[in-house]
């Protein structure tokens, strides 16, 4: 069946328009970050920056406490991802490889936990943390972030563990490996891509978290990058160059990670979210 000229052109034309629509905000953020202020506050927008400047990045990274925020964000995010991976690895192994009473119940439980409305529970979390005298600390933040990404990590890893053929493990054990050794030497290496993809989503969630840190940590010493980014405008007024440079610094690591790992991770995401 031959399609008419129109039939061949419109999908591509629509795709181009959509591509521009989706990319433009990201492009505009990066372009603004590199433009000299004169080009930013011009009556007609400068679509393609010709003068490139790094001044805005200097302003952004020179802001008070910037490096504290970077360290805090990295500490909290990396720890939360590692903790949840370790906890989830054990749980997902049980869910994927063993049959036991209540197994479905656990799966449903984690599915429900994945939907927890964290943004709505911040008042209760604030009171708990305050009663424990742990406001302005990274410890409760790490703990709660671990929990925020744990259900997703378990459900996704479960899919990856199940995808490793059980025969491999059995034959390793026939060859004299203990169960632990079989797990370490056979399953774990095969799980590496799955672990990476899963941890990436956890990383993004924790890296982006805003509502909880907004309530718990009023002290700049214990704040993270999302708070810095939203307070940036208040501090710098309408310095859009610096604000966009800050946004770029915050977003680019995630964008790079995501573009590279997206394909593998998405199948895991849907496996975990759509199908228990």
């Amino acid at each position: 069946m031959k399609r008419s000229l129109f039939g061949r052109i419109w999908p591509n034309a629509t795709a181009v328009v959509l591509f521009i629509g989706f990319v433009f905000p990201v492009y505009w953020m990066i372009a603004t970050a590199f433009k000299p202020t004169g080009d930013i506050i011009s009556e007609d927008p400068v679509w393609f920056p010709t003068d490139i400047t790094l001044d805005h990045f200097k302003t952004a990274t020179g802001a008070d406490h910037f490096w504290t925020f970077v360290t805090n964000s990295l500490t909290v995010t990396v720890l939360a991802v590692v903790f949840s991976l370790v906890i989830a690895l054990a749980g997902s192994f049980a869910l994927a490889r063993m049959r036991f009473r209540g197994r479905r119940g656990f799966i449903i439980g984690f599915m429900l936990a994945q939907m927890a409305p964290w943004e709505v529970m911040i008042i209760a979390m604030y009171m708990i943390v305050r009663d424990a005298s742990m406001l302005n600390s990274l410890v409760p933040l790490t703990a709660f972030y671990t929990m925020m990404i744990l259900p997703f990590t378990i459900l996704t890893l479960r899919g990856f563990v199940a995808a490793v053929p059980a025969e491999l493990e059995e034959s390793a054990m026939v060859d004299g490996c203990t169960r632990m050794q079989a797990f370490r030497r056979v399953i774990l290496p095969l799980l590496a891509p799955g672990l990476m993809a899963t941890s990436m989503f956890g990383f993004i969630t924790a890296w982006n978290e805003f509502a909880l840190v907004l309530v718990l940590n009023k002290d700049a010493e214990a704040q993270t990058l999302p708070l810095w980014l939203t307070s940036f405008q208040t501090v710098f007024g309408n310095d859009w160059g610096a604000t966009m440079a800050a946004s770029t610094l915050f977003a680019v690591p995630i964008l790079i990670l995501f573009v590279f790992l997206q394909r593998r991770a998405v199948s895991g995401l849907t496996a975990g979210a759509v199908k228990g």
Binding site: V26, M29, P45, M98, V120, M121, E170, G176, A182, P226
Partner: protein, 331 residues
Amino acid sequence: MTVQTERPPSGPADVRRTAGGGGSGRPNPRASRVGALAPYLLLLPACAATVLLLGWPLLKDLLLSFQNLNMAQLIQHVTEWNGIDNYTEVLTGEDFWRVTLRSILFTAVNVALTMFLGSLVGLLLARLGKRMRFTLMIGLVLAWAMPVVAATTVYQWLFAQRFGVVNWVLDKLGRHSMADYSWTSDQMSTFFVVTVLIVWMSIPFVAINLYAATTTIPGELYEAAALDGAGAWKSFTTVTLPFLRPFLYATTFLEIIWIFKAFVQVYTFNQGGPDRLTEILPVYAYIEGVGNQHYGMGAAIAFLTILIMIGLTAYYLRIVLKQEKEEEAGL
């Protein structure tokens, strides 16, 4: 054979055979004892974390909602129970119902737009050539990956009153009154920008998933439909749509949850302003509770919000729970 009997019988293979094998004979009692405990031990850390870090806050929220807890009580560390006063105050006030209605409308509009446009983009992806598909995919993934806080900041800049691109374009298109328009000064225009932002961020997930689902549709189904004389539209409604229905249900459900609690977008874009007119339930709970320091009231609003959320998703949750039960019964 001897090797196998000498090892502790706790390998996953053994467990599968003993605990799971329905018709494979009597399991050896020693193996089943160890095997029966292992999965629970492995799940223990995850369950402990869930109870402590998710269950406790939920319970705490319920307890707080029955307390008179304002700034004074907070500072003095006193607990004053006041029964259902918070709930009567919230439920008899006009604000709560207005915000609830607003939240539901907001969610409905955003989810409908996201699902409709996302599905169209997904179907378009399936129709495109390889190179064009890859290009559009890159665009989608970039929008998807954009961190929420950064995206909101970028949208503030795109829709900025002075030097914002959107106002410039509108001005050039002949809407000169929009040249210096402040998008944050009005309820509807704030919602408009937040909606564009949310739909922009949410379409990629729907589109890419839907596209992935279409690739799993067996080609024979289309051939069969063509043999029956079905045209493009007919084969779409009889083959594509029924096949995609589970994916559409599942993604709609996820989008409802995600969009209903879109605290970050709404709060960071305009703090629920102007004049508290764009507060949706999570923002309302935060501003009443933390902002105005009526923690007990805020907790009551939060609890009601959770109930509303469960109500909105109950239909789908029931389907999932039923499926899971049937699968368990089938094991």
